[in-house]
């Protein structure tokens, strides 16, 4: 594997390999000096065309724990604002010889285009509505850590699936590992032709709540109201919010997950987030070790392995 553009690049074996490597990096992270020289002399560049605190930070921490040098480019402090094209920026960064390029852009497919223009390994850190593969990997790692395996698990992905790159990556990854995924959302927030996806579709959260193993909430953005996709956020919360009452009807060991940042009180009630089966902090922690695994897999491990 040369690039990580989509979960499809990994396949089942690749996802499992990432999780196995992440176990090792979990151990590394617990050392008194949580750093190994595996990527010494390599450079990881981050190219973010969209604001992101956690993802960017997570990649940078991961790279540093592997002893890589980190170059950061963001829209606000580079020449992108002066009208420089993506291609020109990529050419400039490539001339500095990075080994990996971590790319985020508001439009689907930009990492694919960048991969054609650079010799570096390209990691998709989120492209439009398309994919956010490292998020799905850390989610798989979190579920595996808590529940042992994804095979046969019932996972409800709740909310704005249509506009969610996280949902597209998670559906690919969860179903690859044998989970049964149900999308629950108002029909206006489901993607077109969703019947061609390998998932079940539900309108009512209450109908699926009691026997699922994971409720994976997605962020609902305010502008969905002005686009006439939702009558109001209040109505959304009433129908599809993970309220205290609803959370109480879940199986005791069922997980509450969310890629963050959460609209507290809209998608998930604040009290639910404080419960021990809410994994939000673990997801963030696992983000670092999973991204270490991805960087290691792309830059060190056998290029012929999955």
């Amino acid at each position: 594997m040369r690039h990580l553009l989509s979960i499809s690049d990994l396949g089942v074996e690749g996802i499992e390999e990432v999780c196995r490597l992440a176990d090792h990096f979990t151990e590394v992270s617990q050392r008194s000096i949580p750093k190994v020289p595996a990527l010494r002399g390599k450079t990881v560049a981050t190219l973010f065309y969209e604001d992101s605190t956690r993802t960017r930070l997570s990649f940078e921490v991961a790279a540093r724990r592997l002893s890589a040098d980190v170059m950061g480019f963001s829209v606000s402090n580079s020449s992108v604002n002066k009208g420089e094209s993506v291609r020109d920026t990529v050419n400039t960064i490539s001339a500095m010889g990075p080994d990996a390029l971590v790319v985020r852009h508001r439009s689907a497919g930009v990492p694919h285009q960048v991969a054609a223009w650079t010799g570096a390994a390209v990691i998709n850190a989120g492209d439009g509505w398309h994919e956010h593969p490292t998020q799905a990997l850390l989610d798989c790692y979190t579920i595996r850590d808590r529940l042992g395996s994804l095979a046969g698990r019932r996972i409800v992905i709740l909310g704005d699936v249509k506009h969610s790159r996280v949902a597209r990556s998670c559906v690919r990854a969860f179903t690859a590992l044998g989970a049964k995924v149900t999308l629950v959302a108002p029909p206006t927030l489901l993607p077109p032709a969703v019947d061609s996806w390998p998932v079940d579709i539900g309108f009512s959260l209450d109908a699926v709540l009691t026997d699922c193993d994971v409720v994976y909430g997605l962020r609902v953005q305010n502008e969905r109201q002005s686009e006439a996709l939702l009558p109001s956020l209040r109505e959304y919360t009433a129908q599809w919010g993970l309220t205290v009452d609803r959370a109480a009807r879940m199986k005791p060991d069922a997980l509450v997950m969310h890629p963050g940042p959460v609209n507290r009180g809209v998608e998930i009630a604040p009290e639910v987030l404080d419960r021990p089966n809410a994994t939000l902090n673990e997801q963030v922690r696992h983000g670092v070790v999973v991204r270490m695994a991805v960087l290691y897999l792309l830059l060190v491990a056998d290029p012929n392995s999955p």
């Binding site: 050392r31 000096i33 750093k35 012929n304």
Partner: protein
Amino acid sequence: MEAEDIKRAVWRMAHEIIERNHGLEGVALVGLQTGGVWLAEDIAGALLEIDGIKPPLGTLDVAFHRDDIGLRPLLPEAPTRIPFDFDGQALVMVDDVLYTGRTIRAALDALSSYGRPRAVQLAVMVDRGHRELPIRPDYVGKNLPTRRDEMVDARREGVDIGELVK
């Protein structure tokens, strides 16, 4: 070497460890993944029988610390587990075969991110020569002269020398 020879060598090395460290106070063992783990376990077993004390036992994977990363595919084989604090202890690193010394260099590097031992000693079942770094073992099961194109495999059941398949 046969299984019996291995057993005798383990016993002898255990005695030497006790002798060198004046007992087992402040001594810990770390087996290198994966070949050194069985040997560390066997030495720990022998120490218990001889001295009535089983020293702390850990495992170490050095894949992330190797200097030949990028020259060959390198995936970690098994986890590092050092469930004890070894600051100020004498740490005996255990591996099956000592060859170029690069694994040991990587292991020394890796250890430094866990703590600061008082001393690090090295125990190996087979020293096959061809060192590329200034590293020497403290406890040796057997010195076994080899050619570079040979492969040495040291297990509980015995030591085999085979041709390197290219």
